[in-house]
Amino acid sequence: MSSQAPQTPQDKTTATPSGHARRGFLAGAGAIAAAGLALLAPVWSGLRVVFDPLRRAASDPALVPVARLAAIPADGVPRKFRVTADRVDAWNTQQDMPVGAVYLRRTEDSLQAFNVICPHAGCFVNLAPDRSRFVCPCHKSSFDLEGAVDDPASPSPRDMDTLDVEIRDGDQVWVRFQNFLPGRADKTPVA
């Protein structure tokens, strides 16, 4: 770069150091740019893999058969049923896997389905031993048999999550099984 040898003291004190600084700056910037470029592909592809789950939507919740109507006495006491469904878990497709459970509650004129998962922090809600209400064994959220929060001190931000329920062929109970984000007042499906 400096093809002319410096001749005077001024040259030494002014031109050369500033030229040196500029060259140093360029070299430094170049080093950073080159290293950045070299890292671009691994960092980019790495981040894409880390965040890949965000691109996968949960499969649309389909109705799945859960029980026969006859298995749910019409006494207003919820009964627990496991939900099994075909499920894709990353690289595996699995038939008839347990994916969760529901409470089905039947009265003379209604049929309700609740996801067993507590809307507070995701534990498995129990039916109280006297079958008068739902109680979560973790942080003591409690709900009445219709799934509504029944205690102002209950930490659950919303009622138990109801699920779409349908009766097909006269007595086959189908439920649209899905999970919802816990810890919020609104019922947002896990997507």
Binding site: V50, F51, P53, L54, R56, A57, A58, A67, R68, A70, A71, P73, R79, K80, R82, V83, T84, R87, D89, A90, W91, N92, P98, V99, G100, A101, V116, H120, A121, G122, C123, F124, V125, N126, P129, D130, R131, V135, P137, C138, H139, K140, V149, P152, A153, S154, P155, S156, P157, R158, D171, N179, L181, P182, G183, R184, A185, T188, V190, A191
Partner: protein, 623 residues
């Protein structure tokens, strides 16, 4: 040898490095109270070594994680001890870390110029908590699975980024393979990497500043090591220790080593006393786990969350803990003033006693909660059963241990009974799971149904009318009860002897596995009894069909009574003409109405007949 080491030193300078590492002067001499840092480093080193070896046998996937941990724990030589050490050393690490931080605060060692090192310590605490949280899930047992669900749920309530954060962490919408691979990468890669970096920085800064020798209360002036520091960093060897000072090697090293030994001894004591780290039953998304609790050092947070009613979880789970950690991180600045230091001491004491109180409350409430105690007892039984089944038949099928539990009568029978039968029937006086019935029993007690003892009670005039047999059904006032109460009560001695033989003969029809020996031994009596069933003396076949002999079929057939085939058909449809026909009272047609699946009926029948795999059975696991 000496020349070889000399050559090595020339190429690497290891002697200088060693000297720098070991020849550190310790102002005021070696002290027992300086051992905490070394003991902590030792504990973490043990975690690295045991962790990497566990890694070599662990498989992070939803159908292999529990199974591989089972294999480490129950099959591999020394596995239980290795896993136990890793488990309890994690507890020790947590305790040592908190003690170390407490000591730093009490000694005022967070003050200038050691602020950065204090922050390193706080960061270390978080990394260790993260290691514990991620490690808890890896065995993929019910406890880890459900407890971690709470943790990731809490992550999801973080404002704005929560749901996305949870999804990235969990690897999708649901727990599965990717949850394990991600947690494992965190547990064995990212967090240990961060740990090494933080420890390296921490030790570097510690060496730069030296130990905090003098209690801050006594000092208005600079502490000794700070003075030494002003002299530069050219190695302590250049400064011979003052008369009261000591060297790290060997004075302090001896004390440190003894402390490490004590930590290891305590851990080993726990490992041996408890038989190693616990392993629950395999994770099951469809099976409740009411005993889901985090590791003990998270219990205060668990308890804390109970006090935040709807809508305030974010404050309890994120805002307040965040504020507390921020306050702790700001301690070095507050500590510049005497009052500030007192405040810091108060804060530390307050936080620690709050944590202790919440932890105590959490355990006290659980102990006093019969539902929790019940859930825990069940969980332990299930864990034991899972191990028993996994050990049968030479290995776990590729579908995983959960499939074994799902097809195990001993596991599923009580659940099915409690859910589907215990609204009317009892089993040994309870609902199958060990809880009392919510309503009075209205139908028969079924523990050891069709066994000799069961039949003896049925044919006992004193007992036949109790709820144990016909409950409150029509049959409680029916012909069988009247027959036993009138006719059997008046039996002559010979008739009673005949009846005893008939009981043995009818019970032998069931071919009950637990009665096989007695049936074998009493073959002659059973043969006689079989002939007597249709005799006029006892008169069973007046109402019950037996081997095609019957006068007027009113009650269930005695051919094959209580056998697998009989019981299956009976549960399917008690209204079948073989059994009660249209005289059936209330017993649903579980088969035709599909209230129970064929598999569920099979499980119930096998459970009632106590026909399940027992370790030591030669034929192995029934499929």
């Amino acid at each position: 040898m000496k020349s070889l080491l000399g050559w090595l030193d020339h190429r690497t300078g290891y002697r200088d490095l060693l000297r720098k590492a070991l020849v550190e002067s310790i102002p005021g001499g070696a002290k027992w109270r300086y051992v905490w840092g070394s003991a902590l480093t030792f504990a973490i080193a043990v975690q690295f070594v045991t962790g990497v070896i566990l890694w070599a046998a662990y498989s992070p996937n939803a159908q292999g994680a529990w199974e591989s941990v089972y294999y480490i724990e129950n099959v591999m030589a020394g596995g239980w001890m290795l896993r136990g050490i890793h488990h309890y050393m994690a507890h020790a690490t947590m305790i040592l870390l908190v003690l170390h931080l407490m000591q730093v605060v009490v000694a005022g060692a967070y003050k200038a110029p050691r602020e950065v090192n204090f922050w390193f310590g706080i960061a270390l605490l978080h990394v260790v908590l993260g290691l514990s949280l991620t490690g808890y899930l890896l065995p993929w047992d019910q406890k880890g699975y459900w407890a971690t669900k709470v943790a990731t749920s809490i992550a999801s309530i973080t404002p704005v980024v929560g749901p996305a954060m949870q999804k990235v962490l969990v690897g999708g919408a649901d727990y599965g393979h990717l949850t394990l691979t991600r947690f494992f990468a965190l547990h064995a890669g990212i967090l240990p990497g961060a740990l090494i970096a933080l420890i390296a920085g921490h030790v570097y800064l510690f060496r730069r500043h030296g130990v905090t020798a003098v209690q801050p209360r006594e000092t208005g002036h600079a502490t000794q090591p700070e003075g030494a520091e002003e002299d530069g960093q050219d190695g302590p060897a250049a400064h011979p220790p003052r008369p009261r000072d000591g060297w790290f090697w060997p004075d302090q090293a001896l004390r440190d080593a003894v402390a490490c030994l004590a930590v290891m001894a305590a851990v080993l004591y726990l490992v041996i006393r408890t038989g190693g780290a616990p392993l629950g039953g395999p994770a099951d998304a469809a099976e409740p786990y009411a005993a889901a609790r985090p590791e003990w050092y998270f219990m205060f947070l668990f308890q804390w969350l109970k006090y935040f009613p709807a809508g305030t979880e974010v404050i309890g789970a994120i805002v307040i803990p965040g504020l507390v950690v921020t306050l702790i991180a700001l301690m070095p600045f507050a500590g510049r003033w005497r009052l500030g230091h007192r405040f810091n001491l108060g804060l530390t004491g307050g936080v620690l006693s709050g944590v202790a109180l919440l932890t105590w409350l959490a355990y006290a409430q659980d102990r006093a909660d019969p539902d929790f105690v019940f859930a825990q007892t069940n969980a332990e039984a299930e864990a034991e059963r899972a191990v028993e089944l996994a050990g049968a038949g030479g290995g776990i099928p590729a579908s995983g241990a959960l499939a074994l539990l799902r097809s195990d009568p001993l596991t599923q029978g009580p659940r099915l009974f409690a859910e589907r039968c215990a609204s009317c029937h009892t089993y040994d006086g309870h609902d199958g799971m060990g809880r009392p019935l919510t309503e009075p029993q209205t139908a028969a007690e079924l523990k050891r149904f069709a066994s000799r003892e069961w039949l003896e009670g049925l044919l006992d005039p004193e007992r036949v009318a109790t709820p144990e047999y016909f409950g409150s059904t029509d049959f409680a006032r029916g012909r069988m009860v009247r027959m036993v109460q009138s006719r059997v009560a008046g039996f002559t001695h010979e008739q009673q002897e005949d009846l005893a033989k008939v009981i043995k003969a009818v019970s032998a029809q069931a071919a009950l596995p637990y009665q096989a020996e007695a049936d074998e031994a009493d073959q002659a009596e059973i043969l006689e009894g079989t002939a007597l069933i249709s005799s006029a003396s006892v008169g069973c076949t007046e109402c019950h069909e037996f081997q095609d002999v019957v006068e007027q079929p009113l009650g269930p057939t005695l051919t094959g009574f209580g056998s697998e085939e009989w019981l299956t058909a009976f549960i399917r449809d008690a209204s079948h003409p073989r059994f009660y026909g249209d005289r059936n009272d209330r017993m649903p047609a579980f088969g035709p109405e599909e209230i129970l699946t064929e598999e569920e009926i099979r499980l119930l029948v096998a459970w009632l007949r106590e026909d399940w795999y027992r370790s030591g059975d030669e034929e192995g696991r029934p499929q």
